[in-house]
């Protein structure tokens, strides 16, 4: 299918725990700086998981975009700010006029927004008072109570339906896709953007994801699923992909986006091209909702498909930016899959997990790690997998333990695998005009 136009990366924008300047964020990541810690958004005492990776600042950015108010919703604030940074990085203004807008698209993945309990609680208290037993209160009278307008806004924001349209207004795009494939989402949007450009449907696509899952509901909820770390006494070392002591991932929050463009469009407007998106592959495990296929068949399949799409052989890959969640099952299955897809070459190249430093940004993870992959190609330092102390016999590749490594990296295979068995791999490549 590698018969269409070349796709290039011309912009990157992030609002993530390490900061909101991608160049600075990369420097920290290359230096192995951790951003995971004890949760501060609420008091997690008594929670099964008390560790998170939080955005502890309010990003500068638009508070209003077209008809959308974003200032009353942290997730939308992150979205608009990340999009603004990506477009500035790319030197792009919003397109004007139907013909220009027709050539632009947004592919954004959204998780869930602010916890709806923040709004349901006050309604319940208004209806039933504080003293009624919540577990026995009459729901019919709760349902009959109309929320106030701010409460209705809050409840509605749970779905983040306006996030992708907000980005579309910022870009001036006539085509908007809001998608989700769980933890694969970020890379999924990049791959979908590649398809749109390669087949000639769009010249410019803003792709990425947003997720704010560090909430009082989702953290304990996913902890009950045994997906999250329980290393509460040592939060800075809780995210430890591929290490024998890994026990689950750290929930992270933020937004990350890439501007992808056809080569001809980027050249025509004199844009700086940072890398090429050379290929991508999709697969589905069709196996189980929670567990990856243990032999990594689906994961290997999407890596192989990405290589085919890029017209590359396994030996063309210089580095794997792993999904590497720090869960016992994923990291073992991913290791098997990398070896299946790349053969002996897997043992000769660095494989690292950026999540060791900022946890798992779920819907935004693949896009953030995509931005960092592009920076790795440009700067020549492979980020480390930090907190790697005890080798796991099932994870026997070179994970770049604890310190970044200077290396000439021309091609990176970026993996993203989601709950439900959805897998996406993309290949970033040094741009040669």
């Amino acid at each position: 299918m590698n018969s269409g136009r070349r796709v290039v990366v011309t912009g990157m924008g992030v609002v993530v725990p390490h900061g909101d300047d991608i160049d600075d964020v990369y420097e920290q990541i290359a230096a192995g700086k951790n951003a995971c810690g004890r949760i501060t958004k609420f008091d997690p005492t008594g929670f099964l998981c008390q560790v998170g990776s939080e955005v502890k600042y309010t990003p500068e950015g638009p508070r209003e975009v077209g008809p959308y108010l974003v200032e009353d919703n942290e997730a939308l604030l992150f979205t608009a700010a990340a999009a603004q940074r990506a477009l500035r990085y790319a030197g792009l203004e919003a397109a004007v006029g139907a013909d220009a807008m027709d050539r632009r698209a947004v592919v954004l993945s959204t998780g869930v927004g602010p916890a709806n309990i923040d709004y349901l609680g006050p309604i319940a208290m208004r209806v039933h008072g504080r003293d009624a037993d919540p577990w026995k209160a009459d729901l019919a009278s709760f349902y009959a109570a109309a929320p106030s307008e701010p409460e209705a806004v809050g409840l509605d924001h749970f779905h983040l339906d306006t996030a992708a349209p907000i980005c579309a207004v910022q870009l001036g795009a006539a085509h908007v896709y809001n998608t989700a494939s769980a933890c694969a989402s970020g890379s999924h949007t990049v791959a979908d953007a590649g398809n749109l450009i390669r087949r000639g449907e769009a010249d410019v696509v803003l792709a990425g994801g947003i997720c704010t899952p560090v909430t009082r509901v989702l953290v304990p909820g996913f902890a009950m699923l045994k997906a999250l770390t329980g290393r509460n006494d040592d939060p800075a070392h809780a995210s430890r992909p591929f290490d024998a002591g890994r026990d689950g991932f750290v929930m992270g929050e933020g937004a990350a986006m890439l501007v992808l463009e056809s080569e001809e469009h980027a050249k025509a407007r004199g844009a700086t091209i940072y890398a090429e998106l050379a290929g991508w592959g999709y697969s589905c495990d069709s196996y189980r909702l929670t567990d990856p296929q243990p032999e990594g068949i689906g994961m290997a399949l999407c890596m192989t498909r990405a290589l085919e799409s890029a017209g590359m052989a396994p030996t063309d890959i210089d580095h794997v930016n792993a999904h590497g969640t720090s869960t016992p099952l994923n990291d073992a299955a991913e290791t098997l899959a990398i070896k299946k897809a790349l053969g002996d070459h897997a043992f000769r190249i660095p494989v690292s997990s950026n999540k060791s430093m900022f946890g798992h940004l779920i819907h935004a993870a693949g896009a953030l790690e995509g931005c960092l992959s592009v920076k790795t190609i440009l700067e020549g330092v492979v980020p480390p997998t930090i907190n790697y102390e005890t080798p796991d016999p099932r994870c026997d590749l070179d994970y770049v333990p604890n310190e970044g490594r200077t290396a000439k990296v021309d091609t990176i295979l970026k993996n993203s695998f989601g709950f439900g068995g959805m897998n996406v791999s993309v290949v970033y490549k040094r741009y040669e005009g």
């Binding site: 139907a98 349902y143 697969s283 589905c284 399949l301 709950f419 068995g421």
Partner: protein, 434 residues
């Protein structure tokens, strides 16, 4: 990239009329509405009625690959998606257990997810809330660890918005591209449009594409009631859904799942499949609403989406024999959609029947596009077009036929369009295979 033609080889649905598209079409042809008074506790929510799917988990047993289905792990959305996909797989006689065939199959579905256990969330929220020294509501964190134990971990996995796709990937043995489309009732047609392109891009030979929605969910019914978007409680349930009618009072809660099977023409032909129609064209366009939660200011977006779909099909407005529209039953959006239809169809507006299922089943969110596409396939096969239910006092902007009686027409081309309040319009064109 290939330009292979794309055939529809199966359609499926789970609606208030039951399992399968024929049940829906038969009900619509009979002029029936399945919008009824809701049982408690949903009956306490305005407007007190809706189009509810009464199918149960046991109804999954008749579907292909039912042994891999886990109803206990499904939200309402996933359940409806599973019904629709299974019913489409059954009609398409897809050889889902064909080993390597799975490598070339994918699934795109549009969905929201909302927890079925909203009652628990309300009680949870009530348990953890208190007042601070100033009397303002504040969440007491130390109560959370106890309260959260009322849930199981799986309830949070179920809540993830890609779960309908995840279940479908297992149900349909899909190892190709799988994704979930969110955010707007047009998502279902976006799923179909992108699925078409996935085949044409060589990513798959067979794609299941659909959408699911349940606007009966309490949280969103409460939000709509506050915003005065919900239909009036004072209207008889079977009279409430009034697409393109001046007497419409708002959104009628409904729920459903719809799905179609798309196959590369050469793949369908090779396996001797019953090619029911051709998916000939797809188009979309985004126009931001004039104010947040308003409607698009002009019909330009849906007009562009429909024209793009026709253009890609190599057709013109004069070729359209029947339209399947959204018809939300809110005058502000229906006016925009009616203007768009009139502008797109031009002089043909007065003659081309416009079908909307809102009067029969209520608002089905992202299911509306795939269900309409499935209905369009049936109409191309049978020539039987449902009449216009509850459209006795049409909006001045609506120029189409208005008769309540069903029609027999020789339909060769169907245009399916979804215009949305979010501003994302999408359209597909289906053509009879001759």
């Amino acid at each position: 990239m290939t330009d292979d033609r794309i055939f529809v080889t199966g359609v499926g649905a789970g609606t208030p009329f039951g399992l399968g598209v024929d049940a829906l079409l038969d009900g619509m042809l009979a002029g029936e509405s399945r919008v009824v008074a809701l049982a408690e506790p949903h009956g306490s929510l305005a407007p007190g009625y809706g189009g509810e799917v009464t199918l149960k988990a046991r109804d999954l047993r008749s579907l292909p690959n039912s042994r891999d289905m886990r109803p206990g792990t499904m939200t309402r959305y996933t359940f409806l998606s599973t019904l629709a996909l299974g019913s489409a797989m059954a009609e398409g006689e897809i050889p889902w257990d064909d080993g390597d065939g799975a490598l070339r199959r994918g699934f795109y579905v549009a969905s929201y997810t909302n927890s079925d256990r909203f009652d628990k969330y309300v009680r949870f929220a009530h348990h953890v809330i208190d007042k601070d020294a100033d009397g303002k509501p504040v969440i007491v964190d130390e109560r959370v660890p106890t309260a959260i134990r009322k849930f199981s971990g799986f309830e949070f996995l179920k809540l993830m918005n890609n779960m309908p796709t995840a279940h479908g990937g297992i149900q349909g043995r899909c190892q190709g591209p799988c994704n979930t489309f969110l955010g707007s009732p047009s998502g279902g047609l976006q799923a179909i449009g992108r699925a078409k392109l996935a085949i044409q891009d060589g990513l798959a030979d067979t794609m299941y594409a659909g959408g699911v929605g349940s606007s009966i969910h309490p949280q969103m019914m409460m939000v709509r009631a506050t915003r005065k978007l919900e239909s009036s409680s004072d209207v008889a349930p079977d009279q409430a859904g009034r697409p393109f009618d001046q007497d419409a009072t708002g959104i009628v809660p409904g729920e459903a799942g719809g799905c179609i099977v798309l196959e590369r023409a050469s793949t369908a032909t090779a396996r001797g499949a019953n090619a029911r129609a051709e998916l000939a064209g797809y188009g979309e366009w985004f126009t931001p609403p004039s104010v947040n939660r308003g409607v698009p200011p002009t019909p330009a977006g849906p007009v562009r989406a429909m024209r793009r779909a026709l253009e890609r099909a190599g057709l013109e407005a004069k070729d359209v024999d029947v339209v399947f529209a959204h018809g939300e039953s809110n005058n502000d959006l229906d006016r925009i959609e009616a203007l768009a239809l009139a502008e797109t169809l031009g002089p043909r507006s007065a003659d081309v029947p416009v079908v909307s299922m809102t009067a029969h089943v209520g608002s089905t969110e992202a299911a509306v596009g795939p269900l309409n596409a499935a209905l369009a396939v049936r109409v191309l096969e049978t020539g039987k077009v449902p009449g216009a239910l509850n459209r006795g006092n049409p909006l001045p902007e609506y120029k189409g036929p208005n008769g309540a009686a069903p029609m027999d027409i020789d339909a060769k081309v169907a245009l399916v369009s979804v215009t949305t309040r979010e501003g994302i319009a999408a359209a597909v064109v289906l053509r009879k295979i001759e």
